[in-house]
């Protein structure tokens, strides 16, 4: 039965029978195909590589599923590859599980699958195992994707919050808030014209290049939901140290800045998809910045602050006016203000 006969996903596409096999073969295996996946076994089999392994998982439920600068498919690859990169790991395999809402158009699903496959190919990581489920209309929002990733750490660094030391420079890989504002600009009820594109992209290359260049990275953290504020607060808490950043050094794109002003939001609390902070010994920060700036995705990397002498764990921000205040953990939900 050719796929054109079904323009939309039916419950039977997740039922384990012929329709499901047809769906997997035509929509997933074709773009994803690689020797491990093509073995079509219940689990992926491969030889353990030498070195420590990093393992991570993340679920993607973004709405809308297509947004300027990306879509849920590419996001599901970039997010998981970037989580591995935060351990300095090179991704060697991804799993990919789809939860699809009954009635989703086959064309939309194909577009998402193709984008996901392209993103994985660009990252040089195979999709080695997967799963497909279909739920009744209304039980999920178009499509949810879970990806897990295994990466190999080809270095002896201990990259973790406990590795952060007083005096470390805090580097930021680029400007803030693009992903959150690109998605928010499309949200129902918040129509405003915007040319903001999500920053969704993989960041493992610049991280691996820093390691290769001999930068002794102490800690890395990607700035996804709740942005820079949340990441800094988590790391201050985990390391037991005070972190100080300077407002005037934190880059924010002009359109993002304008959209945030309009909606009463703080770019420091807005989501990103290809931004991370790196804690680096101060003496190596120039070297690290030079490496980061040689990649497009981190071309605007800057030093935004430093780790303070031991004190109470806190995040401090020096305002443009020169006053120092605490940078609080955001509440977790960005709600535009009345005025």
């Amino acid at each position: 039965m050719p796929i054109v006969h079904h323009e939309r996903i039916l419950m039977a596409h997740g039922g384990g029978g012929r329709l499901m096999h047809q769906l997997i073969e035509s929509v997933f295996l074709r773009p994803f195909g690689n020797p491990v996946l093509n073995a079509a076994h219940d689990s992926a089999q491969f030889l353990p590589p030498t070195g420590r392994l990093a393992f991570t998982t993340d679920s993607y439920v973004v709405n809308p599923i297509f947004f300027p600068g990306g879509d849920i498919g590419s996001l599901a690859v970039h997010g998981t590859v970037n989580d591995l990169a935060m351990s300095g790991a090179r991704p060697i395999g991804l799993s990919c599980a789809f939860i699809i809402e009954e009635g989703l158009s086959m064309e939309t699903l194909s577009r998402v699958a193709k984008s996901l496959a392209e993103a994985a190919a660009n990252c040089g990581v195979p999709i080695v195992t997967g799963d497909t489920k279909v739920v009744e209309r209304g039980k999920c929002d178009s499509i949810f994707i879970n990806t897990s990733g295994i990466g190999i750490m080809e270095h002896s660094l201990c990259i973790s919050p406990q590795g952060i030391r007083p005096g470390d420079a805090i580097l930021l890989s680029g400007d803030l808030g693009r992903h959150g504002m690109a998605v928010m600009a499309l949200r129902e009820g918040l129509q405003f014209e915007s040319s903001i594109e999500s920053d969704s992209a993989p960041v493992h290359q610049p991280v691996l290049a820093m390691i290769q260049a001999g930068v002794s990275i102490h800690c890395l953290r990607d700035l996804t939901r709740c942005g820079l504020s949340a990441a800094l607060n988590e790391l201050a808490e985990a390391s037991g140290l005070a972190l100080q950043v300077e407002e005037s050094l934190i880059p924010v794109n002009e359109d993002v800045h304008a959209a945030c002003e309009l909606l009463g939001l703080d770019p420091l609390c807005v989501a990103n998809e290809a931004r991370f902070i790196a804690f680096i010994p101060a003496a190596e920060s120039e070297m690290a910045l030079n490496v980061l700036r040689s990649f497009q995705v981190s071309g605007n990397a800057v030093c935004i602050g430093q780790v303070m002498n031991p004190g109470d764990p806190a995040v401090l921000i020096k305002s443009r006016m020169g006053s120092i205040r605490l940078l609080d953990m955001p509440s977790g939900e960005l709600l535009p203000r009345i005025c």
Binding site: P166, G167, R187, E188, G189, L190, Q191, F192, A242, Q244, E254, H257, A258, E261, L263, G264, Q306, M308, N309, P310, G311, D312, A314, L316, S319, R320, M321, G322, S323, I324, R325, L326, D328, S331, E333, L335, P336, R337, I338, C339
Partner: protein, 370 residues
């Protein structure tokens, strides 16, 4: 960013701070009316830069804060009803009523939608004729004209599935109430620029005359605020009490006549209860009788809810400028933005929330390595 960075210039700010210090012969207590101004003051740390010659106290100009709990309970009641879309500005979603907030109602299946403009709610009603759409009309004179326009558009479109839960309030009656309090310590006001962009400044002249206080209509950026403070201080030092406009790039003496006409055609002044301040005569807006078909309270026969504020909360004193947030024993302890006790912590723009968000390191500020 153009039209923004100019008003955040650090050298200009330092110059204005110097001028304010030079011009003051004693400590003056000023109140900024608007929550947006409080937020900007705390974010830039202006209160520290101006201490001790200026003592800033923070007024009741945050519409989310002053919305009484019974109105939030009415909202929760409506939003829980099946077949009803409850459209609200975003920051009302986390304001607690007596039993939870709109986020909780949404999680339990209520159709709560965030809108940025009341006209979006009218559009929703037109597009969903089988659903009732209720818009939560909250805010000062700044948002009331858009609510009025939504009512007029709905009437013109002849739609019957659109109504409003109105809790709009007006600034001048609140200022008069604060000044009439025998304990009042406020010597000058920074009035809210956006409110005056709509209403103009004439309403403030009799208040400045009667209570002998300078009122400076001020903007929301650090330089606006510093310039507004300098203008107020200059008047105070010269023993003047006039209405002046600092925010002249936006505010005209007579305001926006078209917006006022809209408001007046749809609303009439009614007595209103302010969270933290209590009942203030003629300080609220209610739908005129000819628009009563759009009144969600009547349409859905809402029950009467009681207002309630925890006894330990001093937000009433804070809103009247009699206490600062940090003088409350609950601040940051039993009262935080996640678990707010009262008016000034419930909204991000409330004075307590602004103090909490932009609090400075308390005792030991760690120093950078040499």
């Amino acid at each position: 960013m153009k039209f923004l960075d100019e008003y955040r210039s650090v050298p200009m700010a330092k110059k204005l701070v110097r001028q304010i210090h030079q011009r003051t012969s004693r400590t003056w207590t000023l109140m900024e009316m608007c929550g947006g101004q409080t937020h900007a003051i705390m974010k830039a740390g202006l209160d520290d830069l101006l201490s001790p010659c200026i003592r800033l106290v923070h007024g009741p100009g945050c519409p989310v804060c002053v919305t009484p709990m019974h109105v939030v309970d009415e909202a929760l009641d409506l939003a829980s009803r099946p077949g009803l879309v409850f459209a609200s500005f975003g920051d009302m979603l986390r304001v607690p009523g007596s039993h939870g907030d709109l986020r909780g109602v949404k999680a339990a299946g209520g159709d709560v939608r965030v809108v940025y403009c009341p006209l979006e709610a009218v559009k929703m009603a037109i597009q969903n004729p089988s659903l009732e759409v209720v818009f939560f009309g909250i805010g000062f004179e700044t948002t009331a004209p858009a609510t009025a326009l939504a009512v007029l558009q709905a009437r013109q479109a002849g739609i019957r599935n659109f109504s409003l839960l109105v809790s709009h309030v007006l600034v001048p009656p609140a200022i008069e109430t604060l000044l009439a309090d025998p304990d009042c310590t406020i010597q000058g006001f920074l009035a809210a620029g956006h409110v005056c962009a709509v209403m103009g400044c004439t309403e403030y002249v009799p208040i400045a005359d009667r209570f002998k206080v300078p009122i400076v209509v001020t903007g929301f950026e650090p330089l606006d605020l510093l310039q507004g403070i300098l203008m107020a201080v200059t008047q105070l030092e010269a023993n003047h009490a006039q209405v002046e406009i600092q925010y002249s790039r936006v505010v005209r003496q007579d305001g926006n006549a078209a917006a006022r006409t809209l408001m007046e055609s749809v609303f009439e002044r009614i007595s209103a209860n302010w969270r933290g301040l209590g009942e203030i005569p003629a300080s609220g807006l209610g739908l005129r009788a000819e628009f009563s078909a759009f009144d969600a309270r009547k349409k859905f026969r809402l029950q009467k809810f009681e207002d309630f504020d925890p006894v330990e909360c001093i937000s009433g004193l804070i809103l009247r400028g009699l206490r600062k947030p940090v003088e409350c024993p609950c601040f940051g302890a039993s009262c935080t933005p996640e678990f707010p006790l009262g008016a000034t912590m419930v909204s991000e723009e409330g004075a307590c929330a602004a103090y909490y968000r932009y609090r400075t390191p308390s005792t030991s500020v760690p120093h950078p390595l040499p």
